[in-house]
Symmetry: C2
Subunit: 195 residues, 2 copies
């Protein structure tokens, strides 16, 4: 395979994880998402839900940045989780070809040329339908989506200094609502397998 | 074919037009880029170079917006060119399946579901190499690229109220430097022709 690592960033409710799973099955390689949370929780001692929240969403970044800039330097919990998470993602990637969902993996491996970085988007209508069907959320779904995206974008920008969701930061961006999940997985499979 | 119109937006020097030409050849359909300029020049009476400049790049948008908001309303030349250009793009699309490069065509046809909207990006190194090879520009090429992108982005945002180059605004975004021109054209061809 041309790529040893496929990173998938995704808007909340776009089906990026589901497309990743389809691709993992086609390529017969592992996909890491919740496994990363488990390992970070184990190694850091933080609760899984806390790691899940802080390992992709941050609002405390600015405060942490303030601390970093003066002699009262002290790592925030987010920074500790970021460091452990990055280490674990690199260790997982050393095991062999794999797909990594979220967590700025595209940035972590940006210097490697055997990495395909993918972004999955979808229109708001499709995302609302998806999260209501899967999670049956009670809050207005559009509010949840916007809130999650905002925090993912903020997290990404804080740790990578790049803009989340900008085409230029990825090798390929696909709209799952325009193209369909199957088609997205097919396109990625072809890119990965063709010479 | 599933799509009657393929719109290609592109960063300056990314090869979006070249990829469009490859795709047009594969699909045996016309591609419109400089033809739009010719027609707008003919219809508006403005010189071709002026139309080329004002039909994708604008810096006077904010002033024009000010005029729009009060009773001193008067169309700027950019607005006149925008109106004529939009009409001509719609007329060209009525002739049959085609590819349209730039000029916010994705926005012009956003309500149609037979349109595939594409964005082509590339890393700075590849873009510099390309514009130096093709145009042999004397100015520092990175400055030209950043300037062109900035004006395209400003033009796009002014007329569409969306952000140029954001993955969410396109069905598919491809990096021509990561994937190669041929591969980009192949992926688009497959999306257009497969059921």
């Amino acid at each position: 395979m041309k790529y040893n690592i496929i990173t998938i960033s995704r808007e909340y409710g776009s089906g990026g994880n589901a497309i990743g799973k389809m691709l993992a099955e086609k390529l017969n390689i592992p996909i890491y998402n919740s496994e990363i949370i488990d390992k970070v929780a184990e190694e850091s001692g933080f609760a899984k839900d806390y790691v899940k929240e802080k390992g992709e969403f941050t609002s405390g970044g600015h405060l942490s940045a303030l601390f970093k800039s003066n002699y009262y330097y002290r790592s925030s919990n987010e920074d500790i989780i970021w460091a452990i998470q990055t280490k674990i993602i690199k260790e997982l990637a050393e095991k062999g070809p794999c797909i990594i969902v979220g967590r700025c993996a595209d940035y972590i491996f940006e210097d490697r040329d055997d990495v395909l970085s993918v972004f999955i988007t979808a229109d708001m209508e499709a995302r609302i339908e998806r999260i209501v069907n899967i999670y049956g959320k009670e809050e207005p779904p559009e509010k949840i989506i916007k809130d999650r995206d905002k925090h993912r974008a903020s997290y990404y920008q804080y740790y990578t200094d790049m803009k989340w969701g900008e085409s230029k930061n990825y090798d390929i961006s696909l709209s799952s609502s325009a193209l369909g999940f199957e088609k997205c997985a097919d396109i990625l499979y072809q890119i990965c397998t063709e010479e």
